[in-house]
């Protein structure tokens, strides 16, 4: 191999990569958090709602989980303007990722709902707790603990694989920034080597953060590695 690496090009533009990493983190955290809310409502509907509502939710889940996130984002970015709805590229990625995460999280959280002991729910019911109260105080803490590793993994998937889709429609998250910068001086290998390492650092920080959060909030004895 007679390629000579020139990382000084990357360091000169490192600020832009850091900005991209920050946007990646923001997109990941927001899409995951909002997706959790959608997933929670979806899972609650699949567990407790009347049949037509369950069908509706299942339809949403089947549609989203069986089509690529990129196509969903394309639909929002290129399709909606045809109907007079015009969102920025960041908004399209954010909404697309959120809906995508919401569908997957509906199924992940549903598994958590199914694992709640019905006896605890009965106890809550006899103590006068309403269904939303039982979900809030019994189901959510239970699923947070029992499926915490699955949730944490999914967050990493969103953070790394989900957000980078944004680059395709010009969102300057980490991958997008790398593409922008490397097209200027063709130092693809240097940029993507550094960006790959930055993703590793990002997921490393996220993993530690999630593990600490799990231990603190839900008594999950999660292993960081």
């Amino acid at each position: 191999m007679n390629y000579s690496f020139q990382f000084n090009v990357v360091w000169r533009n490192f600020d832009a990569l850091l900005e991209g990493a920050w946007l990646t983190l923001q997109l990941g955290v927001f899409a995951f958090s909002a997706g959790c809310l959608i997933g929670l409502v979806g899972a609650a509907c699949l567990s407790f709602a009347p049949r037509p509502v369950r069908w509706l939710v299942m339809g949403f889940v089947v549609f989203i989980t069986n089509t690529p996130a990129l196509i969903q984002i394309y639909f929002l970015y290129f399709g909606l303007p045809e109907f007079g709805i015009r969102w920025s590229n960041e908004a399209c990625v954010l909404i697309g990722l959120t809906l995508n995460a919401g569908a997957y999280l509906t199924m992940i959280l549903r598994a958590g709902f199914l694992s709640v002991r019905s006896t605890e729910m009965e106890a809550g019911e006899t103590m006068g707790m309403s269904l939303p109260q039982r979900i809030r105080y019994i189901v959510v803490p239970h699923i947070a603990k029992s499926i915490y590793p699955a949730l944490a993994n999914f967050f990493i998937v969103i953070l790394v694989m989900g957000t980078s889709v944004g680059a395709v429609i010009g969102v300057d998250e980490l991958t997008g920034q790398a593409i922008n910068l490397s097209t200027v001086n063709y130092r693809w290998l240097e940029y993507f080597t550094i960006v790959a390492l930055m993703y590793v650092v990002l997921t490393f920080i996220a993993s530690i953060g999630l593990a600490l959060l799990g231990r603190w909030a839900f008594r999950v004895k999660a292993r960081i590695f």
């Binding site: 002991r117 605890e120 009965e122 809550g124 006899t126 006068g128 105080y137 803490p141 239970h142 008594r219």
Partner: protein
């Protein structure tokens, strides 16, 4: 007027009728025990009282007022007055002992948290569990969990406490600690409806015993009459087997 009157109630699980007309009364301050073989419908009666198993016909009255179990508000009102303790404790696993006890009074009844916590500690003391207030259910023995479950039910300030085979899931050496807690409540005048297989305990604490079989009340009366001189063949046969030795 009885505190609790159960009048000819019928209940079904799916298509299978499991209660075929149950009648009995509980007076204020009285301890009534439901005894009988497994599958006779004793637990179903308790579940019907708190609205977990729908009653298909008959009526349940508290202080002469019939409870309409089809109306959510009436069911809530009934659950305000009757609290149930389950065989498997059913504690909330994600909360510590004190939070288990204080959750419903604070979140359902909207009472002041500090006041409820102080009362919760008193109740835990009553059942001998105040030293484990910060422990989680999975750190406790079955007997300890059951005593917490009793404190949790009492925190709702029920007029009638329903105890559903509260010692059946416990190791023999843990049974007494739970029974002691119930004895203490009985001596303080708590109205209780108990489903139990602990015959000597039932005999000791009950003011009335209702013997059930196959979803019906076979006979009812004071403990000595039921245990020493059961009138029906079925009760004689049952007590002959369970009291032997």
């Amino acid at each position: 007027m009885p505190h609790l009157a159960v009048n000819d109630i019928h209940a079904k699980y799916g298509k299978l009728e499991v209660l075929h007309g149950i009648d009995f009364d509980v007076d204020r301050g009285e301890v009534v025990s439901l005894v009988g073989p497994s599958g006779s419908g004793k637990s179903t009666v308790l579940r019907a009282l708190v609205g977990l198993t729908p009653v298909t016909s008959g009526s349940i009255e508290v202080d002469g007022t019939r409870i309409d179990y089809s109306a959510p508000r009436a069911v809530r009102a009934a659950r305000d007055r009757m609290a149930i303790v389950f065989q498997q404790y059913n504690l909330f696993q994600n909360m510590n002992v004190l939070r288990n006890v204080t959750l419903a009074p604070t979140k359902v009844k909207g009472r002041n948290r500090k006041e409820v916590e102080a009362e919760g500690m008193e109740l835990l003391k009553l059942v001998g569990m105040d030293h484990k207030a910060k422990a989680f259910p999975d750190e406790l023995s079955g007997g300890q969990q059951q005593r917490v479950a009793i404190a949790r039910a009492l925190a709702l300030r029920p007029e009638i406490l329903l105890l559903d085979e509260v010692t059946s899931a416990l190791d023999p050496e843990l049974v007494n600690e739970v029974l002691d807690a119930i004895r203490r409540l009985a001596s303080e005048g708590m109205t209780m409806l108990i489903v139990s297989h602990e015959m000597s305990f039932v005999r000791e604490v009950s003011s009335k015993v209702v013997f059930m079989d196959n979803g019906q009340v076979v006979e009812a009366g004071d403990p000595s009459a039921i245990f020493d001189g059961p009138k029906s063949d079925r009760a004689r046969d049952f007590f002959g087997k369970v009291l032997r030795g």
